[in-house]
Amino acid sequence: MLVLVEQSLNGLQFGLLLFLLAAGLTLVFGIMDFVNLAHGSLYMMGAYFAATFVAWTGSFVLGILLALGATLLLGILLEFIALRHLYGRDHLDQVLATFGLILFFNDAVRLIWGPAGLSLPLPAWLTVPVQIVPGVFYPAYRLSIIVVALAVAALLYVVVMRTRIGMLIRAGASNREMIGALGINIKLLFTLVFGLGAALAGLAGLMQAPILTVQIGMGENILILAFVIIVIGGIGSIRGAFLAAIFVGMIDTLGRAFLPDLLRTVLSSAAASTAAPALSSMLIYLLMAIVLVVRPEGLFPAAKR
């Protein structure tokens, strides 16, 4: 029972992280109609920046804030130099160009930080376990990820649903011609949205950094997961991305935690321990395939085009 609570929290935490990544992706996708494979690279860069800046400044909080700013800046720069020329192009061109960016970022990181991974040590105050219900302790850091991610999700919700910028973003996601017709500076809006997406990806990366090793290619697997999420949720829909992210996070985490034991009841122990991770990874893709077959536009399509 305790294990179940803990694993569910882990699933929630992973889902929220995925949401941060997927939110930026789905906005950029929905508004600019831009497929950005390099989104995972921004996630990776966020983690590398955090590891570096924390080591530099000696302060966890300061380092993380610096890393967040650096990823935002990198995103804006990337949009400004390269990606804005790809808006309105074929999806395939975008896939190809941003695939090139992945190659570039992976090697750039290898050149700057070396092939070995980095680690981002937590300050002592974040390592203490917190008693969430009597008898259940949960690491403070993971708990703070949940809190921060929820806060960001709420903030994002308020920005998108309650502000003028948000109105433009929603208008853009459902009908791209309309924002042009409103006489808005689209270029600026796009740059802003892209920067926001990059910052969210960076935030996800740097929050994940203390849990996993910071390493080259860390953004790739999780990028695919983020794509799965926005496809399940419906492209351009923040709400869809949120629900799908939690769902995928839960399935992935709980699958990894409990499938081995479940499989062991039917398979040999060795076979079960190889098959279980594969099976729980497959579950997500299976889920996506089912969703797409039943609802080819995702569960919460942003709007009819």
């Binding site: 497929v35 160009a97 695939f99 750039a108 496809v231």
Partner: protein, 315 residues
């Protein structure tokens, strides 16, 4: 009427000639490395050509094509592991399993369009990737070593570098010829028509998805053959063969050479893999150059190498 002698056709013919004569050069100079490199190139060119059939002619942007490389490879590897060494069994099985996989994936994926199609093909390829990682009997994540190459009852010896190279080359030329016939056939006209305007094709009486699906299966089967060759070439097969970045590589090869151009993918593959090889001899950080190069190609060289050649020869 299209002229038959133009820059792209001349280049294509020259490349085909060079590929045919390559073993002679290798033998004369004692440069074995180049033969090894080009065996790999020829195999990937076949895979890229098959992807071009659905992507360039059929308008189906599959981001999961590497799955067939893995499926074809695992068919050979697993059968070899289980003691069935005959190529006459291994290869037909590789093709059949690839075709079956393509049929199932295609029937499901073709319900979607655009980006959703790109993503669902990617998802299925990832599933295949995880399935093979879970095959503990066949090495799981670590992959499966193939101790004996496919045995064709003495007709051809796959362990002989030159013979194997020519087998791969024959498969490539055969594949490209087949695709050429298909593209110009009634079937090919319909598939290209559906790419151009699906609604119109339905209105004049074609069941668009039926043709798309058959095209998808043909493409997957050809790529399965490339997978069988690849497994024999590396004497090894692992889930990494179908990792999504490999599917991305295949797309790059097709687009680099020129989508919807018959020989474009072959040239794209050569350029991509030779560039990778050359750059990695220069510097360990070859992708630092390759990445931005891709970006530039997308931005400035529309239609890939064959597209640029076509424009040059018309100018």
């Amino acid at each position: 009427m299209k002229p038959h002698i133009n820059a792209s056709n001349v280049i294509a013919a020259l490349v085909a000639l060079c590929l045919t004569l390559l073993p002679l050069y290798s033998a004369a100079t004692g440069n074995i490395f180049i033969l090894t490199l080009f065996t790999r190139i020829v195999i990937f060119a076949l895979a890229a050509a098959s992807l071009n059939l659905i992507m360039g002619y059929g308008g189906m942007m599959s981001f999961g094509h590497a799955a067939y490389l893995g499926i074809g490879g695992y068919a050979v590897g697993i059968l070899a592991y289980e003691g069935i060494g005959s190529g006459f069994i291994q290869w037909p099985v590789a093709l059949a399993v690839s075709a079956l996989y393509a049929f199932v994936i295609g029937a499901l994926s073709l319900r979607t369009r655009g980006v959703y199609f790109i993503m669902i093909t990617l998802a299925f390829a990832q599933m295949a990737y995880y399935v093979t990682s879970g095959l503990s009997r066949y090495g799981g994540d670590d992959g499966l070593t193939i101790y004996k190459r496919s045995n064709f009852a003495g007709l051809i010896d796959l362990s002989n570098r030159v013979q194997f190279y020519y087998l791969c080359l024959a498969c490539l030329f055969g594949g490209v010829y087949l695709i050429w016939r298909i593209v110009n056939s009634r079937f090919g006209m319909v598939v290209q028509g559906v790419r151009s305007n699906e609604q119109r094709m339905q209105a004049i009486g074609f069941h668009a998805n039926r043709y798309r699906l058959v095209c998808f299966v043909i493409s997957g089967t050809i790529c399965g053959l490339a997978g069988a060759l690849l497994a024999n070439n590396t004497d090894f097969i692992s889930p990494a063969t179908m990792y999504w970045t490999r599917s991305g590589d295949l797309m790059v090869m097709v687009i680099l050479g020129g989508m919807g151009s018959l020989f474009g993918p072959v040239i794209g593959t050569i350029v991509f893999l030779v560039l990778e090889e050359v750059l990695s001899q220069f510097t360990e950080y070859w992708a630092l150059i390759m990445g931005p190069l891709l970006l530039l190609i997308v931005l400035f060289a529309h239609g890939g190498i064959m597209g640029v050649l076509g424009r040059l020869s018309r100018a």
